[in-house]
């Protein structure tokens, strides 16, 4: 008994009493019977407990008094209430006896209907009233949805022995309502020893909470009846997932049938969603749509949920052809969603959807767009709006004009054309006048058109919004300098002088070589205005500030050319210059070019003989120039299309070594002749690799743009050793660009990296199109043809198949196109064959 083994204890006690047959052995046996009955009650075996207590009372009448307590519990559990509840009708009942009876009610009463109808208590007795109300509420809450009022049960006080039932009713209501938290809360409040607590494990199982104790058979049955058993449906779905992954059409169709059948039985409310998901998955797998619909027992519901799922599937397929389909599906989603009340037609949500569609549509290749606009379909503007980024951005910004939307539109427009970008910037500025980005764009465009008054107006607005923005701060200096040059072009020296005074007042004009540029402008203003004396003084000032006559002459010449006043400064032929002046040309040219770049005054136009002389002098000695000046010279050579100067500067830069090697390698790539395509690509790829190592994002961006653009070698990536080899070989090359020089030997690397034959591409893990390395004539010669098929027809079929595969057309579609719809029947395996 101490170990809870009441059945074994009872066997031993029976054996003992049989042998002894004394009053003591009988008392011991009755005690063990009592423990056994209690154990049966704890196991909810009340019928067995009742039978056992009846047997004991019959066999051992003397022990009736000892069994009274447990007898009441058994009677209460079995619904035989009358005898033990009768004392509650007596007003003289002691508090102890009342408490004992109520305790039994709390612990044992399961049949509320029997208690509500108990004839030994008057109908108005609070216990009968409470039992009646709870019985009604319990039946209602387990039979259908209930309101809060229906389960409020104010007649049951917290002190009532039936109070745990009130908690149970509320827990059941919360469970059906799907409010797991509230359900748990009510269950936690039910006292563990009360009768309703017997439902706690089953209800926890319904909430998905695992219990360490196994459920009874009745509890398991209840959970299954309430929650359903999705195990069979789960297995069917797993089987369908496997069939889809293996691309087995027959297995998919069979699995779809099973899934739908199971779903109808177990979870009919999920059938609609399942059909939608199955349709989309099968569409992605390119399976026969009609067959799948037959297997599903009907088509999917085409609502907003379905179109969203389908649009996302097309987006995620990664095929460009599917983007147009996804955009069309998004449009159908929009219409369905508005119809179904997901969101209003003209709100922020619709605008966000348009932006998403635009992001997709801008990936569409031009050829597909052209086909949709002008091909067989000839869609009208309204019909094809969902593939037109312009139209989509316009709609998005009209519905929800905000910075991010305009910024995306602007980004797209910039990639298309400057005029489109300017239109977008103007629209943006009109709607969001406080945004800086469109103002800066409009300002730059105006400056590019030499419309400096407009540019300065935009600058004024930009300064009001963010005066410390680096672009805004630089713009005042650059635009004023540009305006002066423009006034000089227009021969308006008073206006130029006015702007010059403004420029001189800017504190940033005092930095670096800028005072020299200011003096050069002063020279030009004075010279154009006819003030020779001031012009001469300004000329001398430029020479003083730059510290060399040659630099001063080049700066004034460059500024004169920029203001179309070339006659004001003439350069001597380099041949007539002294050796010292000729030697100073590279440094002077670098300083003046850097100054023009700094003030954004365009390229410094220097006469061709001076550029040639710079390259010649640089070949002799480059020690007077720093790495920055060499870069400026190389850029100047590239801009002037004097590739020898660019090459020579890059050679001098590479010779210096250090962190700037990558930049000079890229300049080398740009300086090489077009014909040396592979060498240019390798130098650029090596520069990209080094830029990655040095985290030089600006250089990396330039190198990648060159590889993706003119060099068409986006996939070319070098290892550290290969980049090192390129650098070493380029450094070993002569300092000047020989027209017929073959350059370094990159043969092995080229074969490994750039060879375009299918075998080499396959070895590098790149994709090789079907038929690409196949000889169609060879295939035709080695394929046995049907006896009645002429070779010409076979050739046409083979070529048509090749084109279809290259287009990505499905075999079903090809067969149907070539042989008619009946060719689609038959197994997938046979069709493939």
């Amino acid at each position: 008994m101490a170990h809870g083994k009441s059945k074994a204890a009872l066997d031993h006690a029976k054996e003992h009493h049989k042998k002894q047959n004394t009053a003591a052995s009988e008392a011991l046996l009755v005690d063990v019977y009592r423990a056994r009955i209690q154990a049966l009650l704890e196991q909810n075996l009340s019928r067995e407990a009742k039978a056992l207590i009846d047997l004991v009372q019959e066999r051992y009448p003397a022990a009736r008094a000892r069994l009274e307590g447990i007898g009441t519990a058994v009677a209460a559990r079995a619904g035989s209430l009358d005898d033990w509840i009768r004392p509650l009708n007596d007003p003289q009942v002691s508090p102890e006896q009342r408490e004992a009876i109520e305790q039994v009610v709390r612990k044992e009463v399961c049949d509320l209907a029997a208690l509500a109808a108990c004839p030994v208590l008057p109908p108005e007795h609070p216990l009968r009233q409470a039992a009646s109300a709870l019985d009604r509420a319990f039946t209602m809450v387990t039979s259908g949805p209930v309101t809060e009022d229906a389960i409020r049960l104010p007649e049951i006080s917290r002190r009532s022995p039936l109070a745990p039932w009130k908690l149970l009713v509320r827990a059941i209501a919360a469970c059906y309502r799907g409010d797991g938290g509230a359900c748990r809360e009510q269950l936690d409040a039910i006292p563990g020893e009360s009768a309703p607590a017997r439902l706690i494990p089953a209800m926890r199982a319904m909430l998905g909470i695992k219990s360490p104790i196994a459920l009874t058979a009745a509890a398991t049955a209840l959970v299954q009846q309430v929650s359903g058993d999705p195990a069979a449906l789960r297995r069917a779905l797993e089987s369908l997932d496997r069939a889809l992954a293996a691309d087995q059409e027959r297995a998919v169709v069979a699995a779809v049938r099973t899934v739908v059948q199971e779903c109808r039985q177990t979870a009919p409310e999920q059938l609609t969603r399942l059909r939608q998901h199955i349709t989309v998955r099968c569409a992605v797998a390119n399976l026969d749509k009609d067959e799948i619909i037959r297997a599903m027992g009907g088509p999917p519901r085409e609502d907003a949920y379905f179109y969203r799922l389908f649009a996302r599937a097309m987006e995620q397929s990664g095929e460009l052809e599917n983007i147009a389909i996804s955009c069309a599906a998004w449009d159908q989603f929009r219409q369905a969603a508005v119809r179904e009340g997901w969101f209003p037609a003209n709100g922020v949500e619709a605008a966000t959807l348009y932006l998403h569609m635009a992001e997709q549509a801008r990936q569409l290749p031009v050829e597909i767009l052209r086909d949709l606009k002008h091909g067989k379909m000839k869609l009208s503007r309204e019909e094809r709006y969902f593939i037109s980024p312009e139209e989509l951005y316009q709609r998005a910004c009209a519905l929800d004009p905000h910075t991010e939307a305009f910024s995306q539109w602007m980004d797209w427009a910039r990639q298309n054309s400057a005029s489109q970008a300017e239109r977008v910037a103007a629209a943006w500025h009109k709607i969001c006048p406080g945004d800086l980005e469109p103002i800066l764009h409009l300002m730059k465009q105006a400056a590019n058109r030499k419309a400096f008054p407009s540019a300065l107006q935009y600058l004024g607005r930009a300064e009001q919004i963010d005066g410390v923005h680096p672009e805004v701060r630089q713009a005042r200096l650059r635009l004023t300098a540009g305006a002066i040059l423009r006034h000089l072009q227009q021969k308006k020296p008073p206006l130029a002088a006015e702007k010059l005074a403004t420029l001189a007042a800017l504190p940033q004009t005092q930095q670096g070589d800028r005072p020299a540029f200011l003096a050069a402008l002063r020279f030009l203003v004075s010279a154009v205005g006819g003030d020779t004396q001031r012009a001469e003084a300004a000329h001398a000032e430029v020479e003083r500030l730059l510290g060399h006559r040659m630099a001063a002459q080049l700066l004034i010449f460059g500024a004169a050319v920029a203001s179309k006043q070339r006659a004001l400064e003439k350069l001597e032929e380099p041949g007539s210059l002294s050796t010292a002046d000729r030697a100073a040309i590279p440094t002077s040219l670098a300083r003046v070019t850097a100054l023009f770049q700094d003030l954004n005054c365009g390229d410094c136009q220097i006469s061709w003989p001076y550029i040639e002389e710079a390259a010649k002098q640089l070949r002799g000695s480059s020690s007077s120039l720093d790495a920055g000046q060499l870069q400026v010279l190389a850029e100047a050579g590239l801009n002037a299309k004097h590739f020898d100067l660019a090459y020579t500067a890059s050679a001098a830069g590479l010779e210096r070594g250090g962190a700037t090697e990558a930049r000079f390698l890229l300049l080398r790539a740009r300086a090489l002749p077009q014909l040396q395509f592979e060498r240019r690509a390798l130098c650029t790829a090596a520069a990209a690799h080094m830029a990655r190592q040095h985290r030089d994002m600006d250089l990396l961006e330039q190198a990648v743009a060159l590889l993706r653009g003119p060099l068409e070698s986006a996939d070319l990536v070098l290892t550290a050793e290969e980049a090192e080899e390129v650098l070493r070989k380029e450094k070993a090359e002569p300092a000047s660009l020989g027209r017929n020089a073959p350059g370094p030997d990159y043969g092995a690397m080229l074969r490994k990296k750039l060879c375009d034959c299918p075998d080499c591409r396959r070895e590098r893990g790149e994709s090789v199109e079907p038929f690409e390395d196949m000889d169609l004539d060879e295939i035709l010669a080695s394929t046995p043809l049907p006896p009645d098929m002429p070779k010409e027809i076979a050739q046409i079929l083979l070529e048509e198949t090749k084109r279809a595969v290259e287009r990505g057309e499905s075999l079903d579609s090809l067969m149907a196109r070539l042989f008619g719809p009946e060719a689609r029947s038959g197994s997938k395996k046979r069709r493939r064959k």
Partner: protein, 94 residues
């Protein structure tokens, strides 16, 4: 899982409904008792508060490539009303 599903909301839920659902769920799953669930609820609410973010989230919520079996987990179980009989069977200990 979709933020709307986490908060138990329909797709066209208003801002007030979203806030009310969030507060209800947080009450159900306080951080000290269910920290992971609370995190999910908070993330879902953050995604749904801003209408633009909510819409973007809603557009991308659909996962067409997810295993079909995951649909069973995503959907709240539909409980059936059985009447008092099976419940009383458990109470009576059968």
């Amino acid at each position: 899982m979709d933020a709307l599903e986490i908060l138990g909301l329909p797709v066209n839920a208003s801002e007030e409904e979203i806030r009310a659902a969030y507060l209800r769920k947080v009450k159900e799953h306080p951080p000290e008792r269910a920290p992971e669930e609370f995190e999910r609820i908070r993330d879902a609410y953050a995604a749904l508060r801003d209408p633009r973010r909510r819409m973007r989230h809603m557009l991308l919520a659909a996962d067409p490539g997810a295993p079909l079996v995951s649909l069973l987990e995503a959907q709240a179980p539909q409980r059936r009303f059985t009447g008092p009989g099976p419940w009383l069977e458990v109470l009576k200990g059968k």
